[in-house]
Symmetry: C3
Subunit: 290 residues, 3 copies
């Protein structure tokens, strides 16, 4: 069984993302842009602005990784083939007669296929980011995790900054408390691939690429079919949190139960701490029961 | 006629921007800063903050181009002569006894002369930006257009970011739909000079510099004298838009006429698209009639 | 007296900031983070976000200096020892059973000691920033002043940007008019060390390091013990302002006295200037009397 498995994973790890997987990624990104309020009007009034937004959606992760490593953010514009492909996808999605592409995309099987292929590109981006970071700082694992994460899921940050500058979005304090699910799985993947790179995991790179991609695609398709989000990682997160911070959590939960009426009395410091921690403990307690 | 023309354009292309054209550019930039509400109060209360703003106004395009090419944004501070010149202009404009400079600048002939000379520096910046980009990515025309554009007209973006950080400006969504006129002509110039650089235009660089500068100065002076803005490019923009997106525009315009009362009925997707596109089409239709 | 003095200053300039002075700096920074509203809740709900904020507080100056010199902003993550130390401080401060560290830090002697040691690290950062800038642009004194200043006091800017992106802070226009006291002394130190570096000051580097550090620590401890802020530099600032801008200030003050009722008459330009300058002059007049 070993040789066919090795052949399979090796062949998979050598697959080129161009053109089909890249097309799927650009399609999902541009459709996400189109579904933003006012995006279609922008495309008609200022096509250049709409095209720039589409490029930020498609290449945002690479741009963020470039900024973090002090490479020119414009570097992605040198890959003329991918720019042409992404621009064609943008043009077809926004300006197709009778909006055929959007109507085709509204069918679930098409969305599942495109989303699955986009998740494959996520693995390639994480690996690419780690390799890129390693070329600058050999074996600096924190930098590798950060750049792999940025390249795999950083597009959301670049797009958020663009919306902030345009005035389309006002950041609320609590949005940053909730990391999105793609962000969490990308961080997990980045950590795993970094430890494989530094030889702390006893698994070959192509095997890990294959397994992680299967994991990503399965999770994504399951979530889309069951319309359920962010359930899967909660037990894992809670276990990790208990190990690192758990005992204090229990203590603060007890504090909340024994001091419900004394919040207006007592010293400011001793009262404010349970009052501040209790909502946090309550939220995490509620999250455990999901 | 050929030899005198060549001599003229060659001599013109070798003109140094320092000191007179640079003085005009710094004067126009600092006067634009002074006319912002609260700028004079800031100059008295916190001269350092006012000086920083003036430097961003004067060197903003070069700073943006440096950021896009991952060069140190502080690089402009190494040119001590230009920094001293710009600082002197700032000092004279804000702290001249009896505000002589502002009163002198309020006369139209002075404004026309300064604005015309500033437009000459715009050409030099575009060419400089393209050369700078070419030194990093040889013959990557998209990068060259972007950097030439940034260097020629990017100061507005840097200044907008500064105002955003200071809280003096809240971005509204629709501001970014309307590209300013300097921005449009700079993009046009950047495209033209890039194609000349990649040998796609059969014209020499010094001839193009001369012709484009004449075009810029004429447009600018005409606009200031007739107090009219952004008329000139509208027919050109409409033709281009018709060629690239025109047919859909007509289609959506028909959609609007045939479905005025049905906007509350029918499926969400088919209704929302004409409703969103119709204002865009209506805006462009209105713009054509200007 | 000369030899013991030289030995003292030389020994002092060769002191390593690691680990005790660095611990003090990280402790003060993380405690400042903890005192922000909602910081403890964030630490429980999203420890990764809290850890990132703590890293920005601890290493913000170096990050800003890296951005200004187009070095990778992630470079600070390569120093694993300091990252581990700062992370340990963060962990202990936020998750110590019974919040022992915060209670210990609430005693004034501990705060004075930590703040004094943090001021020592400020001197090292300014000198490090100037050396860093000199390696890029030899003898460009404006860049050296800027980078020394950024590295010594730039953390506040990085933290403000982070809060802006998170929506925890809306910039008000007048905040930027008032430079904080650490910012002012850091700028002063940066200027002094730059002129020492370019051989314009006839004092050795280790003597200047010693004297400036004594100055910083004395000022900081005095301010904390007397709960008084920003008095010390006001006479110095006023003298400098009088020399550079003083005459106009007097003139505008006279203008205010002679034209109290005519603010609604006369031309817009001549009236608005005294009206705008008078508050500035009045503010500075009031500040002189403090």
């Amino acid at each position: 069984m070993e040789y066919p498995w090795n052949e399979l994973t090796l062949a998979f790890s050598r697959t080129s993302m161009f053109p089909f997987f890249d097309i799927a990624h650009y399609l999902v990104s541009v459709m996400a842009l189109k579904q933003r309020p006012g995006a279609v009007a922008t495309a008609w009034n200022n096509p250049l602005s709409s095209w720039l937004s589409a490029m930020l959606h498609c290449f945002g992760g690479g741009i963020l990784a470039s900024i973090l490593l002090a490479e020119p953010p414009l570097k992605f514009l040198t890959n003329h083939t991918n720019i042409l492909l992404a621009s064609s996808i943008w043009y077809i999605v926004f300006f197709c007669p009778r909006d055929l592409v959007s109507h085709g995309y509204s069918h679930l099987p098409i969305q599942l296929l495109a989303a699955g292929m986009k998740e494959v590109t996520r693995t390639w981006k994480i690996v690419g980011g780690i390799t890129q970071a390693n070329s600058y700082y050999k074996n600096s694992w924190i930098v590798m995790i950060a750049v792999g994460w940025a390249r795999g899921a950083g597009g959301a940050i670049v797009v958020a900054c663009e919306q902030l500058l345009k005035g389309d979005w006002k950041p609320e304090g609590d949005e940053w408390l909730k990391m999105s699910f793609p962000s969490k799985v990308t961080l997990l993947g980045s950590i795993v691939f970094t430890f494989q790179h530094t030889k702390h995991l006893g698994i070959s790179k192509h095997d890990l690429i294959f397994l992680y991609t299967i994991f990503l695609v399965t999770i994504k398709v399951t979530m889309m079919m069951t319309a359920d989000s962010a359930v899967t990682l909660a037990p894992f997160e809670d276990t990790l949190t208990r190990m690192l911070f758990g005992r204090q959590q229990q203590f603060s939960l007890n504090e909340k139960k024994t001091e419900p009426k004394t919040s207006s009395n007592g010293s400011a410091s001793s009262v404010s701490k349970p009052a501040t921690e209790a909502p946090g403990a309550a939220k995490r307690h509620a999250k455990k029961e999901d």
